[in-house]
């Protein structure tokens, strides 16, 4: 997938409904500056209904800022974000449409968990009976009347997650929801988010836990330094690559790139995606290039993301600014 897309159709936002509760999140050419520093730059991507979209990037890459702009908590210099074709503030009932978890500590420490949710229920118009339901759902039923200040980080995450689920919204925007959760909590959250996506809901999740995203996400969006690095279906990004060692790697690279292959030069070897292993061998043979090694090469999401973000951080003239194709 091309790194930067500009039109709503291009970013795949063709599922905009409000009555039908099928809502895509569409980010279009978003730019945000704080002072003279650009924290989000011309960012475009879409999170689609029925899919879990992992929003990945290193610290300070602009993920949280982008999420705040999605929710009208911050304004953009240019570009826009729509949910179901509308800005968040223009949604008929924002709290019923989007559930959000942005800060793991957005609680008054002296208030108990139940009262925190009652306040959200009051403000958002949720059924008061829903408070106990979501407390049970996230496993905080027994701790509901304890002060949030006495909660562990994982319990606070669960409480924040409960707040996001209070109105049973068709869109979830979650910033690092797995932070502080124990393995059981992560497993439960994963099942819950997968189930919501299976119901046609839109789920956007930022995370540093790339292994967890690999188990959770259908699509991924990778950003670095405020720019889109790549986006697309996780399965495609994880497509098996081929490791090639050849007598003329530069020539072979040119040949394969002419076939729309993605080729990473790792010094002594090429990592090739998008062209079957048999075709690589045939191309090399046809060009008279001796192959020293030709083997399947599995790469984890973590390795790929680290490589993308590392590549993007390299200084200009050393490959910087080249946006890898998934």
């Amino acid at each position: 997938m091309t790194a930067v897309n500009t039109s709503r159709r291009d970013v795949g936002a063709d599922d905009d409904q409000i009555g039908g509760r099928s809502l895509a999140i569409v980010v279009e050419r978003l730019t945000k500056r704080y002072g003279g520093r650009t924290v989000v730059s011309e960012l475009s991507f879409a999170a689609r209904p029925g899919r879990v979209t992992g929003f990945l990037g290193p610290n300070g890459s602009g993920k949280s800022t982008t999420m705040k702009i999605m929710l009208d908590l911050a304004s953009a210099e240019s570009g826009r974000v729509t949910i179901g074709g509308r800005r968040y503030r223009e949604l008929p009932d924002p709290a019923a449409t989007v559930g959000a978890l942005l800060e793991s500590n957005a609680f008054h420490p002296g208030r108990n968990g139940r009262n925190h949710l009652r306040i959200l229920a009051d403000a958002g118009g949720a059924d008061p009976g829903r408070v106990d339901e979501v407390l049970e759902l996230v496993g905080l039923g027994d701790a509901a009347d304890r002060r949030v200040g006495a909660y562990s980080l994982g319990m606070r995450q669960r409480l924040g997650f409960a707040g996001a689920l209070l109105r049973d919204p068709p869109v979830l925007i979650l910033d690092e929801p797995a932070n502080g959760l124990d393995p059981k909590g992560i497993h439960e959250m994963r099942d819950l988010l997968r189930a919501r996506a299976a119901q046609g809901h839109t789920v956007l999740v930022s995370s540093h836990l790339l292994g967890e995203v690999e188990l959770l996400a259908d699509d991924v969006v990778v950003v670095n330094q405020g720019r889109l690095v790549t986006s697309g279906p996780l399965g495609k990004l994880q497509e098996a690559a081929t490791l090639v060692r050849a007598s003329a790697p530069g020539h072979l690279r040119d040949l394969l790139e002419a076939e729309d292959a993605e080729v990473e030069d790792q010094g002594s070897a090429l990592i090739v995606r998008g062209v079957p292993i048999e075709e690589i061998g045939q191309r090399a043979f046809d060009a008279g290039i001796a192959l020293h090694e030709l083997a399947p090469h599995a790469v984890s999401l973590e390795e790929r993301v680290l490589r993308w973000t590392w590549d993007a951080e390299r200084p200009q003239g050393d490959g910087a600014g080249e946006v890898p194709e998934p």
Partner: protein
Amino acid sequence: MTWTRQLRAELRKLTTTKMPWAFLAVLVAISATTASAVIWGTDFDGSKTFISTAADQRSLMAFAANATVIAGLFGAIAVAREYGHGTVIPTFLSSPRRHRAVLAQLAAVAVGGALVGLVGAALTVVAVAAALPTTEFGFMVSVAGVARVVAAASFAGAAGAVLGAGIGAVVRNTGGAVTGTVLALIIAPPLIVQLISDASSWVPSPLATALSGVEPEAAGVESQVGAVAAIVGLAAWAIVPAVIGLVSVQRRDVV
């Protein structure tokens, strides 16, 4: 989302932490101090002339000026802590058109401030009434006088709380908001009067005292404004920072 639901949420915020109890403790301490003054206090000449007339007793019970300051701190803390704890995020998510959320906050703290004034005045009246039998003087203030003292404290409390809330919305930091409120209600008024002597009746404390029906002589001032003017004046002191706070949160990023 209706505004009344937002108001209910804001009122629940105020009543689900220990902050109201802390302020109640302050009010109890002030009323106890007032009772102690009645029991053991004297004028310079050793007499108790400061409680010898109905006007003197009303002046002692007039809680409105205190209510302005205490409720001001209440409003400032209630709003500024929203930013400090990050609870303003779910507030603005529920009400992305932020003026509704801020108006609900202002209304809720006005109710809270009015209660601070009402409870503070009631406790002070009870303290004075309970302490007077230890002296040679009886309780001389009429029921209407007591009612006006309590009503004035309630209004002054609401106004002070709105003023503090406006400052809290602008400053967004509890310490800064408290400092700003103290500056606005305690430090700035004498300086304003120094600069503009005609303003002496229009700063919060004299306005609150006038609203309580305390006579100029008992209040130690040469002149004071009428009740309606006092209401307008106190309301103006509250509305100006509230409007500034309302405007300032509209487009500001929540970071």
